[in-house]
Amino acid sequence: MKIGLCGMTLLWLAPAFGQTTAYVPPRTSDGLPDLEGIWQPRANGAMYSVLPHPGGFFLGAESKTGVVEGGVLPYQPWAAAKVRQLTQHMEFDPTGHCHYEGIPHAMYFSFQIVETPQFIAVLHENMHAWRLIYMDGSHHATDYSAWMGDSRGHWEGNTLVVDVADNNDKSVFDMAGHFHSDALHVVERFTPIDRDTINYQATIDDSKVFTRPWKMGFPLKRAPKDYMFLESGCFEDERDQQHLVKDHSALPAGHYQQ
């Protein structure tokens, strides 16, 4: 959606029209709401499980709430059974094979935003991943299936709204067996609420495995000024898969709900 001068004026006035936050971010040199910088998600252990989960040495801190609104994932019965099976076979977890985390999983870790009028680049440390969110009104690619999907975005006031389609069925939401199909469709909303905080929300829609859409959310905090954004490879020296062998690849019982 192209926003002309008239539209830009309306966007400036948007907070007066009942938006929930009064914060107006500064503008980039191109006049866009400035979300640039390095962000550190406070995802509450979502990498282990997006649901509430106990703490443990290899599970991070306890999360009483998880990041899913309502604390429940509305899996269809066959899919809930598959989740349990997957937790017994972590050798199949794609992150262990160094694959892309996909969206929203990739958003639980540090990333950097760079904005131009045509697209917003999200640069991830993990797996040296990157995605371009095209802001030029273009449509999703066709005949395309990707781990990180295909992202097309627009501004709603100061909120960046991103539509992620063309997802493959291989990426996962976390390391607790929570999978999806290739019908996955994600709508993300990045809402700056102060200079150092963006509220991130993702609406997940996948009618092949869930009974209804669901939402997750967590804050993104600006990284400290001296934070070093470093190369983070995986394929080069991955040495863990050899230890995830038959009978030694299950998550401990009771570590995760569902």
Binding site: H97, V114, A121, W130, F235, E236
Partner: protein, 254 residues
């Protein structure tokens, strides 16, 4: 048929045009605009000597010996990062994004990326990075990137041209026309080469409307080990069609 005088005049004019420095458009913060999608059209990915001054790499004898005994499997076979300069001349598109103080290189090849600050900051020390540590600065209309910390595990091409941890690469990116960037790199490594040597090549703009970099991800091999996927299929109107029109330029000498 042109007269000899007219021919000479045309030739001199062409040479003059070729040598006159091109003034590129500038970004909002006054820097030459290198942005866009760029592609390599040469065989340096197979053998970097293709684009080396003198088409020769000045190896130290002991380094050549070391290389004969090196691992024979290209690190790219199992999806490792290609390193610098190799990432520049792989047959995959590159997208350059510029913001004040930062140049971002997005490589379609296995989703590699380089974030290059342009404030000439000092290098990190005591770490090996497959893509090295890049410190950039502007020298007139040229982006200069100094790269160290490259470790010793990348190859310069698929011909197994290796290097030591002392590798130091200085890249120079200069717009030479609406559709071209001249890419040069000085490569030095006192444990591998008897002297620094240079490579140079054009990068060509991909101006196809709607062309976008796509995801290129490792695939699983038979034993579950990650392997390099097939090359990106060339889209319609791909620059490779240019080469097919001029068969006399492919193969053969010099």
């Amino acid at each position: 048929m042109m007269s000899r005088r007219a021919l000479t005049f045309s030739l001199l004019a062409a040479i003059a045009k070729a040598q006159a420095p091109y003034t590129p458009p500038h970004t909002g913060d006054g820097k030459p605009d290198l942005q866009g999608i760029w592609e390599t059209r040469n065989a340096a990915g197979f053998d970097v000597a293709e684009i080396a001054e003198g088409r020769e790499i000045p190896y130290l004898p002991e380094a050549l010996e070391r290389e004969q005994k090196a691992n024979r499997v290209d690190p790219l076979a199992h999806c490792a990062m290609p390193g610098v300069p190799r990432v520049t001349y792989l047959p995959f598109p590159i997208q350059i994004v510029q913001r004040p103080g930062l140049v971002v290189f997005l490589y379609e090849y296995l989703h590699n990326q380089r974030l290059v600050p342009t404030d000439g900051r000092p290098h990190l020390e005591g770490i090996d990075l497959w893509m090295g540590d890049s410190s950039g600065h502007w020298d007139g209309d040229t982006l200069v990137i100094d790269v160290t910390d490259l470790g010793d595990r990348t190859w310069l091409d698929s011909a197994r041209h290796t290097h030591s941890v002392a590798l130091h690469v200085v890249e120079r990116y200069t717009r030479t026309g609406p559709e071209t960037i001249r890419y040069e790199a000085t490569i030095e490594d006192p444990k591998t080469y008897s002297k620094p040597w240079k490579i140079a090549m054009p990068l060509h703009r991909n101006a196809q409307p709607g062309f976008e970099l796509r995801e290129q991800e490792c695939t699983e091999g038979d034993n579950g080990r990650a392997i390099q996927p097939q090359y990106r299929p060339a889209p319609k109107g791909d620059p490779l069609e240019f080469v097919r029109e001029y068969p006399g330029k492919s193969g053969g000498s010099k």
